[in-house]
Structure formats: C-alpha cells, structure tokens
Symmetry: C2
Subunit: 256 residues, 2 copies
Amino acid sequence: MSDTHPDDPASDTDHVVSSAAYSPLYQQIKGLLLQGLDRAEWKPGEAIPSELELAARFQVSQGTVRKAIDELAAENLLIRRQGKGTFVATHHEARVRFRFLRLTSDDGQPKMTGSQVLDCRRVKASADIAHLLDLRAADAVVNLRRLLSFEQVPTILDDIWLPGAMFRGLTADSLARYRGPLYGLFESEFGVSMVRAEEKIKAVSASADQAKLLRVAASSPLLQVERVSFTYGDRPVEVRRGLYVTERFHYKNSLN
Amino acid sequence: MSDTHPDDPASDTDHVVSSAAYSPLYQQIKGLLLQGLDRAEWKPGEAIPSELELAARFQVSQGTVRKAIDELAAENLLIRRQGKGTFVATHHEARVRFRFLRLTSDDGQPKMTGSQVLDCRRVKASADIAHLLDLRAADAVVNLRRLLSFEQVPTILDDIWLPGAMFRGLTADSLARYRGPLYGLFESEFGVSMVRAEEKIKAVSASADQAKLLRVAASSPLLQVERVSFTYGDRPVEVRRGLYVTERFHYKNSLN
DNA sequence: CAGTGGTCTAGACCACGTG
DNA sequence: ACGTGGTCTAGACCACTGC
C-alpha cells in the first residue's frame, strides 16, 4: 500500500502505479481490515481501534480509513456506534439475532422460538454438497438436522452441512446444551463468522416423513430454502436446506 | 437549509439549531434532490446536474452534495458514471431490466420471455387492496392479470392492482402493443417510477384454474409472491400477487 | 483538452457516550 | 473533560469520457 501512497502529498507526481492493477488506497485499507477480521485480530463484539489510530498505523489520513470502514459497515461486517467506537459484527446481540432468518409471522408479532436437534453426525460429503462447500468429494462433513418451532408449533425443518475440519467437537450433545442462534455458537466455539449468504427458494410438496415432523398433511406445500453461507473472503462454510411451513408465516424480502 | 450552514465556517459558534430536529446538511440536500426526482425535474435516464453545479445551487460544498448523491446511488435511485455524470435510474436499460424479478432459471441461462395479458379492467378496490395502496375502500383501481412465459413455458401468473387515478389510459390494448418490462411502461407513459418493493412469500397449492393456466397438475406447489411497490417518498403504487412455477426456476436472494 | 465523477488529504467543529 | 464517530469544508490530483 505504501508504494502507492505519496509520503508528502505535494512532492511527487512521478509514481507510476496507475496503469497496472490500480486499486484505491481505501480499498487496500479495507483489504487490510478484512485480513485483521479474518485472522481474528479483533473478535466479534469487540471494538476495532479508533479511526485515528488506524490512520496512524496505516500511514493514511483519517478520511481514507473512514471510507474503508464505511464500506465494511455497509456490508454489515462492522457496526459503528457514535461516541463509542466501531465494533465487529456478531450474531449474539439482540439487535442482530437471526439476522439471516427472513421468516416472519403474518401478524407481525415476534414469537417464542425453540430448537430440537434431530440428528448430528459426521459423514462423507455427497458430490453436490462437496462442490457447494469447495471441498473434495467424500471429505468429512458434519450433517445436522433440526426442527425449529415458534410458540411450540413446528415450522422449520433444517438439514445442515458443515466442513468437518472446521467444526471438530460439534456434537448433538454440545448442541443440546446451547441456547441461542446457531451462528452465535459457530462464532464463539469455532471462530467461524457467517458474513453473507445466498438463498434459492422453491415451492415443494411435503414428503410423508417431512409432513409428520412438521405436523402438516402429506404433500402440503412447503417453502424450500437452500442457503449457502460465507465467511470473510467469500469462503463457503455452510449449506442449509430448510423447509418452511408458510400457513401462518411468510418469507419477507425487500427489493431495491 | 441555509440557516444551519455557517456562511464562513470559521466565524460563528452561535447557531442554535442543534437541539430541535437536527438533520445533517447532506440529508437536507438529499431531500431536495428527492423532491426534484419526485416532481420529475430530471426524468429517468437523464443526467442530473454535475456535483459542482448542485453545490453552487444549494450553497454547500461539493463534498456535501457528494454524500447526498452517494446515499441516493446506494438506494439505486441514481446511477453514477465516471466521466459522464449522474443519471436517474430507469427500468428501461438492459443493465437493470427486470430489476425486481428474482426468479432465475436453475441452470443459470437467461431465457426468452413473453407476456400475455389475460385481463385488464377498472374495478372498485377491495378493502385489503385499498389499504395496501393507501386508498379509500371502493376507490377505483386497475386490475391487470397476465401470464409470463420463459421459452414459451408459462411460469408466472400475475394479478396486479394499480391506483385508478394514477393510471388513466391503461387498457388491455395499450398493454398488448407494448414490449418490455411493465415498470418501463409505467415510467414513460404515466410518470410513475418504481423505486423499492417489499415481498411476502409463501408456498401454496395451485387451484384448478391456476393449474390450467400454468399447465401444471392441480394442487401443484407454487410460490406465491405478494409485492407492494413504492415510488419516491415511500408511497405505495402497486400491489402484485404472483404465482411462480418453481420446477425449473427458483427465487434467488442474497442476505447480508 | 475540458468536464465529469473518484480519491486523498487536512483541519474544524458537532453530537454522543463515559467518566 | 475527553475520546469516539459524524459532518462540513477546501483544495489537489487521478481516472474516465467525449469532443
């Protein structure tokens, strides 16, 4: 970064970086901050150094650091709090819990949630799961199945795959003891921050098994949501296939 | 706005605006730009004045105008083009056509689309539609039904309601003659820019009628997408209930 | 070459949170 | 009172576009 930065802004017009692979200073700073986040230099929920401190460290102006942080804040990787500092986003805070869950009750009232783990075991990845997770076929993955309920009504049946290497001590037991969002657990127990996700949604008919678990009639229409979640650097770390009962709930989305 | 702006930035510390309803200068500029867009001072596809010109007009620095435009660009109301200017977003350009359509083919290939208008007539608004459109019950609305096909395969059945007062000469005839996205027509013929939308998605079973039109088996699972679209100032101007066949297509969404 | 948006800096002051 | 992020300004230079 320093090779594109004039040490004295008034003294040189002869740096020749422009043509090949030019990248603005603030993008380079953003990259450095991303590295810091990725290697957990600052952990979720913690504050990163102040803008002035970062500016001094990277030898740029506060404005440049500011712009880098602005972008990271827009992507929800950082959260700015006036008067307090800038914090690493976390899945633990009330404000952002279930940040990725778009299912909302039709009446708009928040509901009590409960999670029941049906199954959790280590298996060899199928070809399609391996591909989505950027693994080799037959690499170890953790397969987790669970049922989420709202006000005791079973509503979401999730089938989840995680890279085995990344989630070593994850067992049905450790899951049963944990309260709160799964992504919070991943964050604090395995140091994996879910940062972004892509979903593909279809309407499907419930199979007999699925209908039984979700307590709906066989071949009822269900929302099928296939999610791939990513950490820093767009590395995929979770595949999740969810089946949602949408009789009294809906998937909410905003288009811009 | 000028009453919160120090004419000479070094000369006054006595302006007393702070406490009551403080709003940053750039937000006020943003508001003024929004007004200009709303009253069609600059039309979709056209360029707005340059940053320096706007700065002079509003008596603020270029940086302040810049920040206002930045936000409008982030909301997709404006589009910046380096070296050319800043343009009002439009639904006509190839880049942003079907900006609000999230349905994608499973194989990722773009498909030929065709639209068939089934019905278009003026009716009294039902209570729920009137409520969603901020109208009085029984106000006039245009009700439009159509079938969208991809590669000749019927895939989306849309039922659309529009405020009657806003869409006077809209008829099945004028629709049949038009090629391109509906929102493009609304924009150029009726001066209504769709800027944002909210969708609620459920899985439902096809009724006999719906199944016939979409050429699927009766009670097949369908994606039901209820959309409310807004213009400038968050004024609702369209309600749309779509039924999507998701056998070879899916609804694509990104979570941040 | 002129005009547009894009980057970068430096410095002043404001609003907010905490001690 | 102090430190944090938030706003605002002024000015320089860079990158892209079109004449």
